[in-house]
């Protein structure tokens, strides 16, 4: 048994308790005859910050879709807050990777946050003092107080992420799911968003599951990692999972895990030839010159 499977098993034993916010158990997904996910299992406890790491095509989006109930798994179960997920789980707050609005569309940041409260309801929202206060409070909580009256489409990528996080949080979910929130952000916004999410998880005991192809920005705050490669997953703490033996097994080829200045590089190759970075993970951090996190 590999270390990865051991880590997964440990998770599952811990996951047996009903305290789990999210329990993914043996989930497999076949799309058009191709196995996209195979026997993925992990669990998330209240207030945990978990990174879902994998390169493009590893199955991150599919896994998120399964958790959100948008994709039926061919095997396995997903339990949210102890119960089988219905189609619409109010316990989940969701932040998509991108939004479709042009810069000049008349929708302010506060309008979007308000839609998080009651966007699925019919009719026109009635303004009230309570509603306004709640929206203001939420905007401030994510550091978006200054641009609440700006058009959403006009905001920068980092500002939009904050507003989308406020939109997801205002309905008081217990699990926050974010699809590649750090993609297309500059390094500073990236650090700010990661810091904000870590604070939310810690202070409000909201579990955070965040997908990313680059794990380094998350290393200081991540409680655990779910590492996806070729449709298979290993989960545990970073030290348990991001190791040469575990990831080599996962990728089905030899990879080296190299620690450089508190950051982690995952590179393919045996050492007898030139090492090739694996996916964007390695390629990205190889060129990234950021001061150490801690």
């Amino acid at each position: 048994m590999t270390t990865g499977q051991q880590a997964a098993t440990t998770d599952r034993q811990l996951a047996g308790s009903s305290a789990d916010i999210l329990a993914v158990d043996g989930v497999s997904v076949r799309l058009a005859g191709r196995e996209v996910l195979r026997d993925v299992r992990f669990a998330i406890r209240p207030g945990e910050f978990v990174g879902l790491i994998g390169s493009n095509g590893a199955g991150k989006t599919t896994l998120l879709r399964v958790i959100l109930g948008l994709q039926q798994p061919s095997a396995g179960t997903v339990r949210i807050d102890g119960s089988d997920r219905g189609r619409h789980a109010p316990a989940i707050g969701y932040v998509p990777q991108k939004i479709l609005l042009d810069p000049d569309m008349p929708l302010r940041a506060r309008d979007l946050v308000g839609l998080g409260l009651d966007g699925h309801r019919l009719g026109i929202p009635l303004p009230s003092r309570g509603r306004r206060q709640l929206i203001d409070e939420m905007l401030r909580a994510v550091g978006a107080g200054l641009f609440g009256d700006e058009r959403v489409g006009n905001l920068s990528g980092g500002e939009q992420q904050r507003v989308l996080i406020a939109h997801a949080l205002i309905s008081r979910p217990r699990l926050l799911l974010l699809d590649e929130p750090l993609a297309n952000l500059d390094i500073r916004s990236e650090q700010e968003i990661v810091g904000l999410l870590a604070r939310i998880a810690r202070e409000q005991r909201i579990s955070v599951l965040l997908s990313a192809h680059e794990m380094n920005p998350l290393l200081p705050v991540m409680d655990r990692v779910v590492y996806l490669a070729a449709g298979r997953a290993a989960s545990g703490t970073t030290d348990e999972v991001v190791r040469t033996e575990v990831l080599s097994k996962l990728y089905g080829q030899h990879v080296d895990v190299i620690h450089v200045h508190g950051r982690i590089l995952v590179v393919a190759g045996r050492g007898d030839g030139p090492a090739e970075p694996v996916g964007e993970d390695g390629a990205h951090c190889a060129v990234q010159a950021v001061p150490d996190w801690q």
Partner: protein, 299 residues
């Protein structure tokens, strides 16, 4: 002052039957087009709106040919076209333009046939002109209640789906996760849009009704960043352009060159365009948001 007013509002303007019908029907239709149009722009469906309007020409000309009130032709074909677009795949952003284009092409082909037959068999070009460019002043008084009923229907759909429509304009993923039936919402909106442009086809013409759908919305977007207010502005701008257009058309009866009056649709569409240009002026458009942003960047 009174003299000036007399010069602008010709004597008998409000006493004129066709003018009264035009003011009521045109105003109601403009309001609906403006309100529905704001969401057309938000959802990036202007091309679909234009196609539905153009395809209306097929229904209108067909109705003329068989001697039915063109309103039924416009609305009937609009609803059918919306249904076909949905089936072909207007849901997917990439399939959207293709679905729209295919329906538009097929519809206009039929319109060409119907208009050709109409002209050859009746030896007049009246039907062609009124289908393509509107017939505000020849709407029969008995049609008005039907127009109002359809207008209320389209308005009701938009008011009822206000929040789900907004949410799915931002992200269909968020909307789906929140339990919004995105597909049904999209279909209902497409139908409301079909009704709106069909009604506008009756007043200002199948070719021109997109102007009343998209123009006021594009103008309103410059005036405010608040969604609700923008929807309201959009409707009011449409009404203003229509009423002012009717007034000018009435006055133009004594204008050169022909002393037959200028077409009302020309005035309405031109006014929509002028309003849009005015809203581009820095002191009028972009109220609030831009300044707040500068202040933030400065501080």
């Amino acid at each position: 002052m009174t003299h000036l007013l007399r010069m602008i509002v010709e004597p008998g303007f409000f006493g004129n039957g066709p003018v009264r019908v035009a003011l009521i029907a045109g105003g109601v239709v403009a309001l609906v087009s403006g309100v529905v149009g704001m969401f057309t722009v938000l959802r990036g469906q202007s091309f679909a709106g234009h196609a539905l309007a153009d395809v209306g020409a097929t229904g209108g000309s067909g109705a003329f040919l068989v001697g039915v009130n063109p309103l039924w032709g416009f609305v009937g074909i609009g609803v059918v076209a919306a249904g076909v677009m949905e089936m072909i795949g207007i849901r997917r952003p990439r399939g959207r333009d293709v679905a729209t284009g295919i329906v538009l092409g097929a519809g206009l082909g039929l319109a060409a046939l119907f208009l050709y037959w109409g002209t050859t068999f009746t030896n007049t070009t009246g039907a062609t002109i009124s289908v393509l460019f509107g017939s505000m002043f020849v709407i029969s008084a008995s049609t008005v209640p039907v127009i109002v009923a359809f207008s209320l229907l389209a308005l009701a759909v938009v008011v009822l789906l206000y929040r789900p429509l907004l949410l799915s304009s931002v992200s269909t993923y968020i909307a789906t996760v929140r339990g919004v039936p995105v597909r049904i919402t999209g279909v209902l909106y497409l139908l409301a849009m079909a009704v709106a442009v069909s009604l506008a086809a009756l007043t200002i013409g199948a070719i021109l009704s997109t102007a009343l759908l998209v123009g006021p919305a594009a103008t309103a977007m410059r005036l405010t960043s608040k969604t609700g207010l923008a929807v309201l502005w959009s409707g009011l701008i449409g009404v203003a352009a229509t009423w002012l257009g009717i007034l000018l058309a009435y006055d133009s009866f004594y204008w050169p060159p022909a002393q037959h009056g200028w077409p009302v649709s020309f005035f309405v569409v031109t006014l929509v365009f002028v309003f849009y240009l005015l809203a581009q002026l820095p002191m009028i458009g972009r109220a609030g948001g831009g300044r707040a942003r500068q202040a933030r960047a400065g501080g």
